[in-house]
Point group: D2
Chain length 362, copies 4
């Protein structure tokens, strides 16, 4: 309900701009007693960190997280969450605000520049200010905390298509995801993408991407009907990521082209009262509530709007001009979306777990 917070009982608030001194997140409502140190968060930030390959922005940010509150070393010498707000801060070190002189005066097409001015009357134009994908570092940090609250759940995301070139599901190998700079589970696709993204990068162009994410271990019963449907919460979470323009749960738009028989997820008796589903078109969610199957979501990232080709636009004064975007940018912002999508999945699930036990005591 406020503008920069997410979640109901496991809730976080982020702050910070691309070229400000720092950015951060305050995580509120975290269960107490969870072991937490910077080392639990840093690997996720490292996975999202810019400047690690030529396929991401060359901005150099160490993205070192500091925990400023909400943890305390108990009698066993282990630092744990106390149940009070956890303040996470990441300092910006590699701002180059001089790159943005043109942007102050004219609107980059596809960017939030014009919309911000229309809403707020002016804007922090340095690096996109609040609309920069740097904000996602704060989500990734918060998401690392959320993971600790849902140890029963495993989350895995990957890029399944870049610029319309999709992986072959037959080649899917989770172990491959960490072996290439694209979070690509298909080694052959990764090889193709290297050339694809390189070509775009050298041309000063950019490419869209699809990110998929699966959460396994979610028990049946999380979520709620209708306005707090687990799917609706996930859609809210994912569509709130910079550059995202589409979200699907399970089969998504393919379900709209299917029949009731084709889309059914039949059930068979399983062990210990947990049924077996022989299909998962629903993406692990029925009626807004998890079924115990893997929860799956697909997310569409548009191509980075920052490109070197001059595009027709207008100045703040309403004059026609052409503008291209200087500065350092991701040729495919969807790639670094992978840790962000995982973080949002974790944040939604942690919140839903707590809401579920609030209402049911389970």
């Amino acid at each position: 309900m406020s503008f920069n917070s997410f979640g109901h009982v496991f809730r976080f608030t982020t702050w910070g701009e691309s070229h400000g001194p720092a950015l951060g997140a305050v995580v509120d409502g975290c269960p107490p007693g969870l072991p937490l140190s910077e080392a639990d968060i840093q690997p996720f930030l490292d996975a999202r960190r810019p400047g690690t390959s030529r396929f991401t922005t060359q901005r150099q940010e160490p993205d070192q997280v500091k925990i400023l509150s909400g943890v305390f070393e108990g009698q066993d010498g282990i630092q744990r969450t106390t149940g009070t707000p956890i303040s996470l801060m990441i300092e910006n070190v590699d701002q180059r605000s001089k790159d943005y002189g043109d942007v102050a005066k004219a609107y980059r097409p596809g960017h939030a520049d014009y919309a911000y001015d229309a809403k707020y009357g002016f804007r922090d134009y340095r690096g996109g200010g609040r609309s920069s994908a740097r904000e996602t570092a704060a989500r990734v940090a918060a998401g690392a905390v959320a993971r600790l609250a849902i140890p029963e759940v495993s989350i895995l995301a990957w890029v399944s298509a870049i610029g319309g070139d999709a992986i072959d599901p037959a080649n899917f190998d989770a172990a491959e995801i960490g072996n290439n700079p694209f979070f690509c589970p298909d080694a052959k696709a990764a090889a193709r993408w290297e050339e694809l993204v390189d070509t775009a990068r050298k041309a000063g162009s950019s490419l869209g991407a699809v990110v998929e994410c699966i959460a396994t271990g979610v028990p049946a019963g999380w979520g709620a009907p209708l306005y707090a449907k687990l799917d609706a919460e996930l859609a809210h979470a994912m569509m709130g990521i910079n550059a995202v323009k589409g979200v699907e749960i399970g089969d998504g738009f393919a379900a709209a082209a299917n029949s009731g028989e084709g889309n059914a997820d039949p059930m068979r008796p399983g062990n210990e009262g947990v049924p077996i589903f022989t299909a998962n078109h629903a993406g692990g969610i029925a009626g807004g509530i998890s079924t115990g199957q893997p929860v799956s979501v697909r997310v569409a990232f548009k191509p980075t709007s920052s490109i070197l080709t001059p595009m027709p636009t207008i100045t703040r004064d309403g004059e026609a001009t052409d503008l291209f975007t200087k500065g350092r940018h991701d040729p495919c912002v969807g790639i670094r979306g992978v840790p962000v999508v995982e973080a949002m999945m974790a944040l939604v699930l942690a919140d839903q777990k707590l809401l579920h036990r609030a209402q049911t005591g389970r």
Copy 2:
């Protein structure tokens, strides 16, 4: 934050089950002084009403709305909103709960039956209880109130595909939408769908559908960055509708297959300081904030899970069985989703208009 409410300052809460005595919505935060009577709401309910053609469920519900609070006749003899909660009630008249004996004992595949039992321990199985699409009547009623708060906006939705058979955009004719039982803007597609849906209906099958919606007249500046992005709010709203599995803003997943140049929305100077965009890949939203272009969203409805073909499932006791769904059902629940999508668009925009003027005074 609660489970059955939606919106921040223009906010509504719905209640009611498929086979209970009534269902309704409480609309809170509505601006005062708006002329409002049942006659302003009824046409939207009539558009969504079941039993009006053979392509929807044959349940006969008049869906007459009553306004129980929040309005008062002023000195001019016109009944207006007072700014206090508006309670809207619709009585159920055509319940046939005896159809649901089997459902009490076993889980319909694709339905929320199992998930509800997993969450709550038991469920109102009559007609799907709270998970029934009857709930959407309450949204449509609330949406009719929301429309009054945004007179500057026009909202139009239609079905763009059924069972994978899409309209031809070249044939798009808004005037055609009301001329057929499918909310179809393409007369040729409507003719094809008649046979398509009839075939599915007679076979006891069902079909998915895609609904599209456009809001024109939204000024630049509504929405907010990130967690309250206008796109995120719309995604939340649409994915919270029963049977929805996918949401796209603007080009959606097509943007993920595009390049930065191809996806750009160039700007040119316009009249009175309002720029002209020469494309609208973004669907009227940049950085989470409206740009003044039409706001567009696409929504995927899965096929109705209620089908006559027996499907493998389990009983509440965990035994294997086969189950098909008796009762009266929509062969394509997406069709009646059109007024619901329009309602959710209105509800999101009314809320965003109020939030925008809260923060900026404009």
Copy 3:
């Protein structure tokens, strides 16, 4: 966050005006499986019902509650909460709107008339519209549901002073509360109040009152630091009741006149690890969190603003006039505040119980 809702996870929304067709509450987030029928709610409404003695308004309202949703008869034949929204409705039957002609044109001093017009531009002046104490019937109904969610807690409220005449704590006898029309635990005070209130009533005057409430059985650990302090939630709840102007927790303002030694609540070892406190100045709450001692709150009700003595005021057009209030009113609105204060206590505690187990799993 919305205007007519209260609570975080156990949440209710009320609607309705004094002279509208009905009023009601929607209870959301209630745990599933709680046995609930109208008979569980009606006794609390009866305790608050007007017209039962000459010391309350003579408006005759049966205040019969109907449950419209959120319950279902399980296999054991017992109707239980399903976990979905519970819609409660109470029809108004004894409106006499003709009493309010003068009020349409001028502002009753001490009433909300002027403030409503200043905010909303106009108002439903019949019986005070939304500002009428009739709204509290909806709270009492919601509170009866909340009690079912906290069976470990006992709640007791009473009037401890009317018009400045206080009970003698030495005479406190809980069994006496139901024996007189004042909810008075001191038989001698009840006898005095009979004359006191009668005198005020006959003079067309009114009196303020103090209501006290104690909740026993609240385990240590409910509540939260600071912005969600259990005391802050109670203060919000109680100050939100019509006519309330003051709230104290524990010793309240008396603590402000005390020393640290005098105000301390020493602890001694108790049975089963539950400590014994040898005093309860804190009213059962420390640092915003319950201590296991009885939670106590005192609430100040102002005298009913509706009196027969003409008072200087202005018309809607800004002209000077004198106005007295026709219609039927409580000579001491605080008396019927007792079931309302109990209801709000139950609603706060049910919400806090659920929030506590959300975060901690206990």
Copy 4:
């Protein structure tokens, strides 16, 4: 709804513990374009700062605020709010955690120690952790931002009683408030309090206090009926301050001892359509909505629980012990409550102003 946030559309979240590295607040929803620099915040922090007289704790904290986000220097060279979250940070410099060895093992009577352990299982015992009054620095910083959003309002608070010794209203002189270390508007009372507080301080004792606050310039119409009554919001805000145990609006508990005639606030025609009230028993609020009169609130602070007299208590292991509180503490924590009460008044009013214009457009 979350645990460490306050407000609806003008909303802030605080974080930090007494002996952690820093504390802070994130202010969200602030109107854009307001000139804001650290210099606008620092004077309010200085007024609350510890160690400035012998009547407050001797902990030395410069309480220098840093603005980490949400502001930007516009074309006129003036730094302004951008409408995005404003992150405020104050570093702790004078922690002495070694003072708290005893507190780790036993519960200080009157403190939150036991309640925190009961809730969270363990606690940061250094200086009270999150329950320390140091947290109020974050509120004061946030409140300074809120003041900028309500330039039409003037807020003034003062101490009206310490340890039961009240000021004489006849001696009230606003100019005197800054002339003594007690925020006392009565020079004679200030002289008495010097001895009173000194005596308590030397005895290792402490005293309660009453703080009063008046907001002038609030236009008629802010607030809302019932659950969001302006009084209820203020009660929530004030009762959420550490050590507060009572809140009154206007006459508060005195109204409960009054009659309808005595408590009336008659109205007379005023200039430009703004009525004149000839009394203000209501404290500027009727029916939950501001009337245009000064908004007045009284707040009871209990005596600091930290005293040098050993009190009976128990250890974490449930053994009987006696404990007194080492460390540096305020002999009367209510004194430094004055800037905190002012801050909360500003935060509530800024939020209500924005909510009012959200709903009504005014």
